[in-house]
């Protein structure tokens, strides 16, 4: 077990190094002096010269990369051109909003997928299956940001039940914050459940065909018990992998939902960074989300043997 963990950890190292290389070189692709680019066009020439020296821009590229990487590892991601704040502070404050929305939504979507997917597989070919699968197919075709706009239109503009714009940080007042977060969470939960339902259904169908399920039924177990004790535990592993991938992807990828609901999250930070050519922020967001993706998938891989005992750890 320990050697498996170590090997899996070591496997993440080259990926992280290449991720860092890509983020480093992305900004170098922009024509011009990187120090000037990092400080913005109106920057003080002496500050540019100072940063030029600090980044070691006269030295070979690999030395520059090493210098940059040393800064990154010590938590120094530079300062935002537009706000002057350290990028690392910005990332941490923004990650809270995104994290709350993503974790709650993916949790709810997983629960929905387990229930709907298992039932659809159980009633395969029946009306219930058709209803669940049609719903999932429809969800896959609806862009999340449009779903968000529609919910906003119905519950905010027409019914006046929920606020249309605004935000209160979760750490300040969780209850008031939830009022602003209900719609984003509902949107994301619905959007993400489509693909998870399909995955859960197809693996549950595979398991339902197996002999031990027939055996469990022959023993006279209630269908409920068969589904919860025999089908679900054996069918959940592929969905869990997908949940991991989804979590990693969403941490940076809910920029559109944050835009619809004007939430100050990571994705929104990246978008405003791109629009205002704030490259330190763009670099920081990319690096941060990629590292989260790698870490989340690492955790899922390590959890895998716990959920699926057939996966042997060599």
């Amino acid at each position: 077990m320990i050697s498996y963990v170590i090997r899996r950890l070591l496997l993440a190292v080259p990926t992280l190094i290449i991720v860092a290389l890509m983020v480093f070189f992305l900004v170098r692709l922009i024509p011009g002096d990187p120090a000037q680019i990092m400080l913005g066009e109106g920057a003080d020439p002496s500050a540019v010269a100072a940063l030029h020296a600090e980044l070691g821009l006269d030295k070979p590229v690999y030395v520059q990369f090493a210098t940059w990487l040393r800064h990154v590892v010590s938590g120094d991601l530079g300062t935002s051109i537009t706000t002057g704040e350290p990028v690392s502070t910005l990332l941490i404050t923004r990650a809270e909003t995104t994290g709350v929305v993503v974790l709650i939504s993916v949790g709810l979507a997983t629960l929905i997928a387990i229930a709907a997917g298992t039932v659809a597989a159980w009633r395969r070919g029946g009306k219930l299956d058709l209803a669940v699968m049609s719903g999932a197919s429809l969800i896959l075709a609806v862009p999340s940001f449009w779903l968000g706009l529609l919910l906003l239109l119905v519950f905010g503009v027409w019914l006046h039940w929920l606020p249309v714009v605004g935000y209160i940080p979760f750490s300040e007042d969780p209850w008031s914050a939830m009022l602003f977060l209900i719609l984003p969470i509902a949107t994301l939960t619905i959007s993400e459940s489509g693909v998870l339902i399909r995955m859960m259904r197809s693996s549950a169908i595979d398991v339902l065909r197996l002999d031990y399920v027939t055996h469990a039924r022959a023993k006279g177990l209630a269908e409920r018990t068969v589904l919860s004790r025999h089908v679900f535990p054996n069918a959940f592993a592929p969905t869990l992998t997908l949940v991991g991938l989804t979590l990693g992807r969403l941490f940076g990828g809910i920029a559109v939902i944050e835009t619809v609901f004007t939430l100050p999250g990571l994705g929104r930070l990246m978008v405003t960074g791109v629009l205002s050519r704030d490259y330190p922020v763009v670099q920081g967001c990319l690096l941060f989300t990629a590292v989260i993706y790698v870490v989340v998938n690492l955790v899922v891989d390590l959890l895998y043997p716990l959920f699926d005992p057939r996966v042997t750890v060599e």
Partner: protein, 268 residues
């Protein structure tokens, strides 16, 4: 599941979209870019089926032109991503060894960036234009393509007919091109269909975020983005472009499912 109905519906929706795009080449109800400040935010009527936007532009005409722009971007992106991805996946899956290890490590690292953020960053570096969107999305979807192609090539290279070609003394290039590739085509075709849907979705998301196709050219995404401030005064502006995206994606996904059922023998 009643598959024939699905594929029929898929063909119907995609066919309707093609008709709209082709019709738009020869006829549009109004000039999609013509500003008419006397008729701003008009609700849907006989004169303007889908109403007008904040500049008095006809929404139906803009949605039709938007369909053409989105289609073109999607086709270009899918072609670039599939051609590059197939080439890489073929070489990597066939040769294996250190070539595979190096390319797959890069591909996996690229996969670690959320697609939309990677596309955003690339557009930020290249500047906002139709070409940079195509390039950015093609790069963002490249790792997925490489992965799928590599997967099927790996299983094909162990078959007897590939072994036969090798024993017969064919060059690796010949075996890859003439023996492995034709057999790997079905999953690539299914992938291309899904990719088409993903690209339509991502392009509309990028345009919605304001880094996609620059205005005044319309796309469904930037139409939705500019409709956001007029939710109270003109809710129809938020509905029509969204329905266009949903109909397109439904059609493409259904076609994709039908194609997979035909080409993938495992499911039958």
């Amino acid at each position: 599941m009643k598959r024939p109905i699905h594929s029929l519906l898929g063909f119907g929706l995609v066919g309707a979209l093609l008709v709209v795009v082709l019709l738009g080449l020869v006829w549009l109800p109004y000039d999609p870019l013509a500003i008419d400040l006397d008729h701003t935010l008009a609700s849907p009527s006989l004169a303007h089926w889908l109403g007008t936007d904040e500049f008095g532009r006809d929404v139906a005409s803009r949605a039709m032109l938007g369909a053409r722009i989105s289609m073109l971007i999607a086709i270009q992106t899918v072609v670039i991503s599939i051609v590059l991805g197939t080439a890489l996946g073929l070489v990597v899956g066939f040769l294996r060894g250190w070539t595979e290890r190096v390319i797959m490590t890069f591909s996996d690292a690229l996969l670690a960036f959320p697609g939309i953020l990677l596309a955003l960053a690339l557009v930020a570096v290249m500047g906002s234009s139709r070409h940079s969107i195509v390039i950015a999305l093609a790069i963002a979807y490249l790792p997925a393509t490489v992965r799928v192609v590599r997967g099927s090539v790996i299983s094909i290279r162990e078959r007897e007919y590939v072994e036969a070609s090798r024993v017969a003394g064919d060059s690796a290039l010949y075996t890859m091109w003439r023996i492995v590739l034709p057999n790997a085509l079905p999953p690539i075709l299914v992938l291309a269909t899904s990719l088409f849907g993903w690209v339509i979705l991502s392009e509309s998301a990028l345009s919605f975020l304001g880094v996609g196709v620059p205005p005044p050219l319309p796309t469904w995404g930037n139409m939705l983005s500019s409709a956001r401030p007029y939710m109270y005064a003109a809710s129809w502006l938020s509905i029509a472009p969204g329905l266009c995206i949903v109909a397109t994606l439904l059609g493409i996904n259904m076609l994709g499912d039908a194609l997979r059922d035909r080409l993938d023998p495992r499911d039958n």
